[in-house]
Structure formats: C-alpha cells, structure tokens
C-alpha cells in the first residue's frame, strides 16, 4: 500500500502532498524534511529507492521535480516506479506537456487526477483512457458551471463600464 505521495522541487519546496495513512501535521513536516534531505542529495545513477524507517520510498525525478511515494517493505518497487510514471503521463496528457508551473498553479487539479489513479493508497485504475474519460467529464461539468459564472462576471463588467461612462 502507498502511505503517502509527495512532490518536492529540487530546492526542497513542497508541490503536492497526499497522505493515505494518518500523519499529524507535525509528523508531516518532519517526514518531508527528512525525506527531502535523503532524496535530494542522492546522485543520478543510484537506485530510485530509499529505505526509510522500515518503509521504502520510491522516487523519480522529472526535470526539477521529484515524485516520491512511500510504500510497504514487501511492495514491488519497480511497479511503484511505473505508477509514478503512469501518473506523470496522465498529467502530461491533461496539461499538454506538463511542467512544474502547471502543477504549482493547478495543484487542486493535480489532486483530482491523483484521486482518479490512487484511492486509499492502492492503484485503482491502470487505464489512461479511463482516467482521462472521468477527468474530462468532470471538466465539462465544471465548465458548464463556470460559464454561468463568466456570464455573471460579464454583467459585472458591463456595470463597471457603465459606471466609468457615467463618470466621464
């Protein structure tokens, strides 16, 4: 089972965290501090796995961003490495050649996508298409709702310009 997912930048800045096992806020900070100290210092040719407090942390670097997942000692590390890649491929498909900025400004969307891939620390869907379908459905429904908001905003703008014209 996956206990948590952390995305950290090369500078140790947190980009995304998702905890599937209970951790207090304080523990979370310690975990992140310890792991970033452990992972960011590792050389490029070494294993993508780190043993940590009886768990294993599988990480993978994409550009300046590290994706880390903490798993049980008897889990298959290579599989988890590919789960990370699966996640990144889906992000890539969603954002269109994803970059760190996409994740920084749209972290809530990244959360939605992650929720479609992992549930309760287990891989729930291994088909990219199935994930994309659900995400797309959510997006359209969101957009429908948003359109009405935009309409509202346009009306507001209209009133602003009216005010401006009156002022002039």
């Amino acid at each position: 089972m996956i206990h948590f997912v952390i995305l950290i930048s090369r500078q140790g800045k947190v980009r995304l965290t998702k905890w599937y096992s209970p951790y207090q806020q304080k523990e979370r900070s310690t975990v992140i501090r310890e792991l970033s100290g452990l992972i960011l210092t590792r050389g490029p040719k070494l294993c993508n796995f780190v043993e940590w407090k009886g768990y294993k942390v599988v990480y993978r670097r994409y550009a300046s961003l590290y994706f880390c997942m903490c798993i049980d000692p008897d889990d298959n590390e290579l599989e988890v490495l590919e789960i990370i890649h699966h996640f990144v491929e889906i992000l890539d498909r969603y954002f269109g050649s994803v970059c760190e900025l996409d994740l920084i400004f749209n972290f809530h969307k990244a959360y939605y996508i992650l929720d479609e891939i992992l549930i309760a620390g287990e891989l729930q869907e291994s088909s990219k298409k199935a994930v994309a379908r659900v995400i797309a459905a959510q997006k359209t429904s969101t957009n429908l709702a948003k359109d009405s908001l935009v309409e509202n905003a346009k009306e507001e703008t209209g009133s602003i310009s009216n005010m401006i014209s009156q002022a002039i």
């Binding site: 294993c47 809530h108 929720d115 287990e122 905003a153 703008t157």
Partner: protein, 969 residues
Amino acid sequence: MEQLKTIGRELAIGSHGGWGQSKEFLDLVKSIGEARSKAEEDRIILREVESLRRRIAEPDVPRRKMKDYIIRLVYAEMLGHDASFGYIHAVKMTHHDALPLKRTGYLAVTLFLSEDHDLIILIVNTIQKDLRSDNYLVVCAALAAVCKLINEETIPAVLPQVVDLLAHPKEAVRKKAVMALHRFYQRSPASVSHLVSNFRKRLCDSDPGVMGATLCPLFDLISADGNSYKDLVISFVGILKQVAERRLPKTYDYHQMAAPFIQIKLLKILALLGSGDKQASGHMYNVLGDIFRKSEQSSNIGNAVLYETICCVSSIYPNAKLLEAAAEATSKFLKSDSHNLKYMGVDALGRLIRINPDTAEEHQLAVIDCLEDPDDTLKRKTFELLYKMTKSTNVEVIVNRMIEYMINISDNHYKTEIASRCVELAEQFAPTNEWFIQTMNKVFEHAGDLVNVRVAHNLMRLIAEGFGEDDEGAESQLRSSAVDSYLRILREPKLPSLFLQVICWVLGEYGTADGKYSAAYIIGKLCDVTEALLCDDTVKAYAISAIMKICAFEIAEGRKVEMLPECQSLIDELSTSHSTDLQQRAYELQAFLCLESQAVERVMPLDASCEDIEIDKNLTFLKDFVQQSIENGARPYIPESERSGMSNVSNFKSQYQHEASSHMLRFEAYELPRPSPAHVIPQVSVPTPIADLVPVPETTYNSKTSQASKLPSVTDASSAAHGLKLHLDGVQRRWGRPTYSSSSGPSSTTSTEKTTNGVTHIDGVSSQPRDKLNESRRQQPEVSAEKQKLAASLFGGSAGKTEKKATSTQRAPKGNTRNAERPGATRSVSPETSKEKAAPSVPDLLDLGEPNPTSTTIVDPFKQLEGLVGPTPVPSPLDNSVKTSGLETPDLMAAVYTDLPPSGSSSGSLGSTIGDMYSADKTSNTATSAPSIKKGPFPQDSLRKDARARQVGVTPTGNNPNLFKDLLG
C-alpha cells in the same frame, strides 16, 4: 471609451480565465516561488493565513470567493501550516449543490481531516445524500471522500449505500465502491465480513478496471485467510492467462505490456494461494512459464512483472523448471548496469536461496560488488541477502562486515535493525565463545542504547553460566578475558548505558576472581564508571552492587577492605540520592562493611549468580499456620474464580459490549418511514437491488467450483473452458476477439514452436550464459585478490550443510571444546583467518591464482548445475502442457497485432515526449508518433505558456532555472 471597456472586461475575465484562479492566489504562489528561504516562506504564509482567517469569517462571502479561499487554505496546509479555522468552511462547501464547489469542498475535507476528526460527523449526512445522487460525478466525489473520511464508527451509516453502488451502471462508480469497501475492510474487517461474496462477484465484472480494483480487497482477504479462497485459484489463473494473452482492451496496455499492473496484482495473489499448496501451485505452473517466456527486459514495467513472477515462483510449491527460469532472470538483473535492477536482483536472489542455497554461488562477485557499492540502498539490500545466507562457516565475515558498516551510519532506525541482526546471527552461529563476546562488545559499544535489554541479559548469563560444559578451566579463562576486555574498553570516553551495566555486573562478579587485579583497582574502576558522562541511575545501581560484591568476596576471604576515598564519597553521594533504590543500596553497603566474614559469606556467596533460587509457589511452609488458623475458627480461602460477585467476567464484558453497540451513533434520518435501523439489518434499509445486498450463500459457490472440477482437465486449458468455470461469459465477449474460437489454438502448429518454445532452445539458453560467465571469470584478472578472498569466505562455505537453527533465542551451548583448544584466539577475526578455515573443507570457486587444486574444483559445481539442467529434456506430462499452451500464443499475438495496424497510437505519441525515459520505446515509436499532431513539446505551446506566466507576473527566478522546463523534456 471602447478601450476602457475591453480593459475592464479583460480584468474581470482574467480573474477566472487563464489558470482559473484569482489574482491573489497567483500572487501568493508567485511570492512563495520567489521566497529564498524557508523562513521567508513561513512569513508569507503566516500573513496569508491571518488575512484568510479574517476574510473567511466575514458574513456573506460570495461562493466563488469562498472556493478561492479554501484552495488557498489547502495550499497553506500543504506547506505545513495550521489552517484548522477553515475546516468548518470546507465542510460547509460540501453541502453546495453546484458540482465544482462540492468537489472543492470534498477535496479540501479529504486533505484537511483525519479519520478521527470531530467534524466528520457533520459530513456523513452530506455523503449519504450525495451517494444517492443521479449525477455519477457527485457519487464519485462522495465515494472518494468515503475512502478517506469514514471511520469505524461511521461505516454503518454509508455501508448499505456503498454496497448498492456495486451495481451502478457507471464502471467508475463501481470501481470506487469496491475500493471503499476495501477501505472499510482495512478499518474494521468485521463490518464487511458478510459482503465477501460481493467481491467474488465483482471479480467477474465486465469492466477490467473494476475487476482490477477488486483484486485489492481480495489480496487483503487472502493474506488474512488463504484457505477460504482456494477455490478461486483456477479463476485467478484464468484471468492472468487472459491478461497475458492480451485479451484486455488496448487501453490497459502500458509500454507495450498487457495490463501489467493487473498482472502484478494477480501474481501477488497467486503467490499467497500457492504457498505450501502443491495442488494449487500445479495450476499455476503453466501460466507462470508463459509469463517468463513472454517477459521482456527492455522496459521497467517488464522487469517489474518479471520480478513479481520470480517472487511468485519462489513462494509457491517449487517447480524445478520455473525455478531455473527464475534464476536465469535473476542473474540478468544482477548483471544489469542499472542500480534499480541490481537491487531487484539482490532481493530476488534472497528469495531463491531460501529454496536452493546453491543459487548464490554463481553470483558471488556481483553480490560483492553490490556490497561495496557507494549506493547505500543497494548496500543495505545486500546485507539483507547476506543475513539470509549466513551459516556457521561464514558468520564471522558477515557479522564483521555488518558491524563495520553499522559503526559508520547515523540512521538510528537502521542501526537498531542491523545491530539486532548481528546479535541474532552471533547467537545462532558463533564459532567460538570468545568471538561471541568480542562481537557483542563491539555491538554494545557502537549501538548499545539501541539493542534490546534482553540481549544484555543474555550476554551476562552466557558469561556467568559458561557454556553448559564442565570444563572449569575454559570457563574461568573466558571470564578473565571478558574482564580484561572490559577494563580495556572502560578507557573509552563514551559508552552506552546498557553496556556499562553489563561491564559493572561482570566486574563485580568476576573482577577479582582470578587474582590478577586487586579489589582496590576494580573498585576504583567502578567508581570511575559512576562519574562517567552518560551514567544514569541504573548504571550507578549496578556499580554499587558490584562494589558490594567485591567487598563481600574480600571480607569472606578474610582480607581487610580498605575504603578508597572516591568510594566513600560515592557512598555518601548515593545515600543522599533522590532515588530510593540507590539510597537503599548505599546503606546496605555501609551495613555490610560492618558484618563479620561468616555472615557476609552467607549473604553474598561467591559466584552464585547462576544458582537457582527456589520459589515455593504453593507456600507450603505456611500450611501449619493456615491449619492452625482454621482450627481457631477462621474461614477457609475461596479461590478468586469461585467467589460469587465476579461470577463470569467474560459474560459481563459481552454484556457491556452489547450495551455499547446499542448506544452507537445513529445515522439514518428521522423522517425515514422504515422502522428498522440501517446498521442492524442492512438488507432491509435499501430495498432496490436486493440481490446484491443479500450475501450470496457459500453453497452456490461450492456447487460452481465442483462443476468446474468436473471439467475434463486443467492442463489443456482452452480459454473457453476457463470462461465457463469462471462464469466470465460477459468478460469473454468483451475482452476477446469475436472471431476467436478455441479450435484455432491447436491449428497453429507452426515452425515457431521450435524456435520459441522447444526444449532444445531452453537448453541452449541455459548453457550459453554459463559459458560466458566462465569466460568472463577467466578474463577477470583485475578482480582484486581481496575481493576474491571475501567471496570465498562468504560463499565458499555454502557447500557446508549447516542449516539455520530454527528460532533459538539464546545462544546454544556448543563448540566449547574448540574454544578450549584455542583460548588465545585473536581479538577480531579477519577475513584471512576465516578463509583459512574455509579453504580446506570447501572447494574454492574463485581462487584462480592457485592453479593446481582449483582447476579441478571449478569444474565440479558446473557439473552439478548441469545435473540440474539435465532432467529437463525428459518428457513429462507437465512439459507437454507447457508446450501446448505455448503453441497458442504466437497465433494470438499475431492476431492482436494484425488487428491494430497503427500500434501504440496513444502510447506512441506519449512516448515521444517522454521518450528519454525509455530509449527502447522511443525507437519503436518515433515512426508512429511523427505524424501525430496532438501535442508534444512544441515551441508554440511553451511560448504561450510563458506568455501566460508573464501576464500573471510570474518570472523565473535566478535560482530556479529549471522551473519552466517541461517536466518530461
């Protein structure tokens, strides 16, 4: 005027357009991105949290604004700050009807709240409502929240609805419902124990995603109790076969592998089911062999499946042929350049040597390379392997290596682990007692505070009891050498408390026993101990007791004890100590010094630590007194169990539990007309699809499986038969090619057979690498002599048949005679000496430097190995079945490929953007991906993004140049 209008519109749209967030949020993220230190970041966030705290509490915050606030709170919380004041607003947001707001609310609460948070009770009602929604997206959002938030107490509130959703028309909902039930099982197995049949049913779901999700709870159920699921073995094997034969939709392919994640999960389940079960394992051999044959090692995921297959093969009832294939795959891992694969290889080797310890020999050098690798992860994994293959012949080298490594690491968690492993190995396999004590000393010295107290007590007992034999000389020799070494170690400045306790005790018992040291000298040393830096009360107590013992021995001998000034000051100090225990001991010592020798000898006999103190549990010596009292009219004693008031404790408890359960929270709404509470009889509460709710009685399943077992044979395994057994008819239709019929299988007896599956082929493969290995060994003069020695001492002994002894927690008293022969053994056992020992008894594989004896011994193990290979060509029924099943595959594969001319249409285009991760994929995909115009790292794309970034005002900072690079670029 017109301009002003457009500017105004742009401003307004800008707040939702672009990235869809407010300017304030973007500013926040931007300033965080530019923060140069953690302190600066904290300052920014704290300011933000303060302003949010003010604004979120204002009355009538617009919904859109509120959503933005909540997302900013999530951000603050993600960066490690407390945003608990906003939790209630996130909860409120889940009540909204608009989906985007609801989803934001659910997202926030799943990230904010832990399962035991007080606010959860406020969400349960919303979740109940949303689970009934017509919009499946709402249901999905609610189910995701269920997985995170519902705790043991609230499970009954949503359980019936979640079970209903197992029959939902949307597969996304069914899948999430299965995962939710899995979560419930993890939280409280009892709550879903009556629903197990539902999991079995979902295994046959028409959607592969749902089927794959169902494997998660089944894996947990099977690891808890494998025996109840043996009937599913054939189903699992059938599914795995279909998956491996690419019958799942193309979308489940991943990097040209057929649904690898599902394969891995199935292999894990099979490993559990087949463990120690010959019959169940028999069903699996075929498909496992197929997977080995089809395995491809160019991609990570292929290796992941291969590794899982090795794990499965080593876990189920052993099969020679599969084990050989597994060993071959393992050796490929070990020879790989990738550290990841080496790591997996070392792990796999550890699994294989449990079945056949000789497997390791072939890989000696690879293992030693891993041991000396700078990569800590690999090193630790290798130590794990060495730990598994330790025997009495190589224990010295391995434990010394472990201790060497242990000294240099600072990670306390791992230090504890490796220290306890050293202790365990030393206790089981120590060749001499001398060595054992030296090893323990080293472990204590460097990790003393991390090892179990029990270990210290064992060591003390060992020194005291000797080793169970009657050789007094050897025993006293050992004790005085222990005393010597401890006096030497005491010069070290910092020693762990536990180790000091052992030292004090040993010095007290045996410090003056051989007359080498004077009592005053030992007492002086013990006083020094109490002044040491890390000396705690326990050590002081040990020290003063030791001083007391030494004084007692002196008095008993009739000698005068002269009180050293530092000892006197110690006694003075302790007699005013805060610890009553220390005070007591100090006063006892003072009183002791005034006693005469005969009394002292009775109180503190010499070397009596091992004598049993008899404890009369029945208190027989009180019988007379009791008798007398009863005669005098006292009431007889009534045992506790017979006393009336507490007649039945367990009964009382169950009554209490019953009461507790009736006091449980009730979740059903009051206005519901149904009379019975939902959590008591879940079947009644929701009437719609009752069939799903009522647990399918076990008997129906039994009848199904008995039907299945009546079918002619398993080995001929035509997929149609499997479909029948599984009741996977629906699946068959959806996954399989419509034109496929079982008759097409045997008709494909083509020439491919020999090249792919023939026995001769296997023979060739297995002998070829070995030849290569042989060659490479000959060509490796640069392997240092030291390494070879290490290899010899580690692996050379593997021919020795000493098995790990079961689980003796104490060191068995053995090898004493040897100890007596070599009392003055060197302190630390170097690899050379151990090699000397190993060399005469065992043929050394690697010592090519000495030509005459080794040239003959090199041949030997290969002959043995050939013996292993030899039997395989002998035709066996199993062999045939492997061949027949293999025959079908080329045809099927061909069919799949011809079916889909633009192969890899989806993954191919991705492959180009992510290509550098998989160079092998790249070569195969570039051709197909070239015409695809969907996306990729186009310059326009990134330019547009850049422009957007500028518009928002985010510019790359100097210290973060890679920020804008594509993640996958």
